[in-house]
Amino acid sequence: MADSLKSHVEVSSSGADAFIRAYYDMFDTQRMNLSALYRDTSAILWNGNAFSGIQPFTEFYNKLAVSEHTVLSYDCHPLPTQASDPGTPGSIIVNVSGTVKYSNEANQRLFSQSFILSPDPATPDKRFYIWSDCLRFV
């Protein structure tokens, strides 16, 4: 049990490590690639504004000024799996706390962002995508 927990933690937390690095780097420097991480079914909430579909969300974040995110904290849990195949990785929930500075604003903002990442059954290697993304300035 302990070993299986450890392996769950290893899989989920190294996934979170990689995701956190990639996501904010992409948001700050290659925002045009960001949409690849989302699906049209992704649940996206930005400061109380809900987006349905990648297109409206892409239009929205392209209007945001150039950003510089600094991650101060993140944490991640494995979630129960739906699949009958025990080899299929389950979803994970990742919570991030950090600061963001937009180029058209004088001060940093604090943000709290929470992702649920899920394997996409449509991709052959079950690549993870952002199942939900909930961001708030805090």
Binding site: L5, K6, V9, E10, S13, A16, D17, A43, L45, W46, N47, G48, N49, A50, F60, K63, L64, A65, V71, L72, S73, Y74, D75, C76, H77, P78, L79, P80, T81, Q82, S91, I93, N95, S97, Y102, N104, E105, A106, N107, Q108, R109, L110, S112, S114, I116, S118, W131, S132, C134, R136, F137, V138
Partner: protein, 576 residues
């Protein structure tokens, strides 16, 4: 709203001690270890196991009560204003039980009501030889309490009526008011004033005079605005506020009404408070003081009866969220989000019960977590923008050593150790290791909730919940106010689960907490509509002759279109 009224008459301060959930039955047996108390106050003989004539014996049990004098003092304080005539006090040898005698049912009821209260960090169980009679009385309606409650409300109503005139509520020097004195009501600012006297007064005032635009709290010995913070809840469009002649020492003490809470506030008086006097003495002028106050109350036009200088910036140290105009963002900030009213009802019910137990009886949450649930928390040590703006220091990690913050916990062992799996581990190693807290959900503006259903993501249809808010850390190295973010995933409780049998509709699957240095609640306030601009005008508290030049300040007429956008109420009030 009936909650306020009930709480008012609990015979003890209600901040952290409410515990209506767990009753631990302590079976008293005549202990061979009983010994005479160290400081028997009365001459009567040792208590027997029976009801000795009219005397009632009370047994207070806890694992290490220790010094019984301190316990007795504590019970006396908590029973105030009722006076306890305690006699024949005794304790057993290991300090786990204290007994004493009370002369009448009234006092017994008062003390019995304290059962479950925490003393020295542990819960006390209080039994009396008249428990049966007490419970029968309370089930048939506690007449003396309800009479007292009706009398108190009537007194507050009479008092408010006597202090109101044409939109102006003059609550100056309430301690000297004969109506309040006659009803033994200690007003806000008074010694041992109950925490909800202020809220009840404001609620009554709102019911009687909804058009109040001006309130004076002059000369009430207020040390902070906490006791009167309900002003923002009941009169969010208040225009004029006087705090003249109180005992306000620091800017922190007025935070309770600062920011956008009173978005229409145009005049504020802080004359004759140590905060103002000291700041001016130190700086030799009032520039820094006026700068700070106008920053904290951005809508202010008149401060201390002098018009606020228009659009003058007083330098650095802006509060980040204040100085950033929303126009730099492509979408305005919106209030709480729920994907359906059903989700909203479920989530609010869950959060209300959860945080109440989290504050008062964390161990009882064991049934709310799934056998395979996960919990962890992360501590963010960096200073918040609000702290930085106030030149405060950030908190240390001392009380949050189990933080799983993965920017700092890189190795697999600590990441595994700090992830708590299963309901028992979550309670014992996770939640109970966190410092004691008090979450205040009554002010909806201080909490932000987003929630939606998870569809087919998980084996059951769950609800994802993201909560942002604040709590008071009650003790410990870093005690004080903290901000937090919390993500829950909750599933419907299966019919025969422990959760369902304990009355919970939901079961927690995943729970992540982030604790941050306090940063207030401005960041998630929905964008308020611009208020009508009026130039600086004489204040409403100006001498009577000046009043007619600004009639609207007193008339109470606030055009409806100036109402600030209100976030959906998620406080307890909206629930019950």
């Amino acid at each position: 709203m009936h909650i306020d009224l009930i709480l008012l008459f609990l015979p003890y301060g209600l901040d952290f001690d409410l515990d209506g959930f767990t009753v631990i039955i302590y079976a008293y047996t005549s202990s061979p270890y009983q010994r005479p108390g160290r400081n028997n106050r009365a001459e009567s003989s040792a208590p027997s196991n029976s009801n000795d004539g009219n005397k009632i014996i009370v047994f207070v049990n806890g694992t290490s009560i220790g010094n019984d004098e301190r316990l007795i003092d504590f019970l006396r304080r908590r029973s105030s204003p009722a006076k306890l005539s305690i006699s024949n006090q005794q304790s057993n040898i290991d300090g786990s039980m204290v007994s004493f005698v009370l002369p009448d049912m009234q006092q017994a009821r008062t003390v019995k009501a304290l059962s479950g209260i925490k003393f020295n960090g542990q819960k006390l169980t209080i039994k009396t030889t008249v428990d049966k009679e007490l419970s029968q009385q309370s089930s048939t309606g506690n007449t003396s309490t309800s009479q007292k409650s009706a009398g108190t409300i009537d007194a507050i109503r009479t008092f408010i009526q006597s202090r109101h005139n044409n939109g102006f509520l003059d609550l100056e020097n309430m301690a000297a008011d004969p109506t309040l004195r006659a009803a033994s009501i200690v007003p806000p600012g008074g010694k041992m004033s109950r925490t909800n006297v202020g809220p009840v007064m404001m609620k009554v005032a709102k019911e009687l005079f909804p058009d109040i635009t001006t309130i004076s709290f002059a000369s009430n010995h207020l040390k902070s605005l906490q006791p009167i913070s309900a002003v923002a809840q009941y009169f969010p469009k208040l225009q004029n506020l006087s705090l003249k002649g109180n005992d306000i020492q620091s800017y922190k003490d007025i935070e309770n009404l600062a920011g956008k809470k009173l978005s229409s506030l145009r005049e504020l008086i802080l004359l004759d408070n140590p905060l103002r006097d000291r700041d001016i003495a130190r700086n030799k002028d009032d520039l820094a003081y006026r700068s700070q106050i106008t920053k904290m109350f951005p809508s202010l036009q008149v401060l201390d009866q002098v018009p606020v200088a228009p659009k003058i910036s007083f330098g650095l140290g802006d509060i980040a969220n204040d100085s950033v105009s929303s126009s730099t963002l492509p979408k305005p900030i919106q209030g709480n989000f729920f994907d359906s009213p059903g989700t909203q009802a479920m989530v609010l019910e869950f959060l209300t019960s959860y945080f109440q137990l989290f504050d008062t009886n964390r161990a009882a949450l064991v049934n709310m977590y799934d056998n395979n649930a996960t919990f962890s928390y992360a501590f963010v040590a960096e200073m918040s923008p609000l702290q930085r703006s106030q030149n405060k220091r950030g908190d240390t990690w001392n009380d949050y050593k189990g933080s799983r913050n993965m920017t700092r916990n890189k190795d697999l062992t600590s990441r595994t150790q700090k992830l708590h799996v299963g309901n028992n581990a979550i309670i014992q190693q996770g939640l109970l290791a966190l410092p004691e807290t008090a979450h205040d959900l009554s002010d909806a503006s201080k909490v932000c909730v987003d929630a939606w259903q998870t569809g087919t993501l998980l084996p059951a249809i769950c609800i994802y919940i993201s909560v942002h808010g604040e709590y008071e850390q009650i003790r410990g190295a870093t005690k004080g106010r903290k901000s937090f973010d919390r993500s829950f995933i909750i599933a419907p409780a299966p019919p025969n689960s422990q959760a369902a049998m304990n009355g919970w509709k939901c079961l927690i699957i995943s729970d992540q907490l982030t604790v941050r240095n306090y940063n207030g609640s401005k960041a998630w306030q929905p964008e308020a509509l611009p208020s009508a601009s009026t130039g600086p005008a004489p204040g409403a508290f100006a001498p009577a002759a000046a009043v007619p030049t600004a009639p609207s300040q007193i008339s109470g007429h606030v055009p409806a279109q100036n109402a600030p956008a209100q976030p959906p109420a998620i406080g307890l009030e909206g629930l019950v």
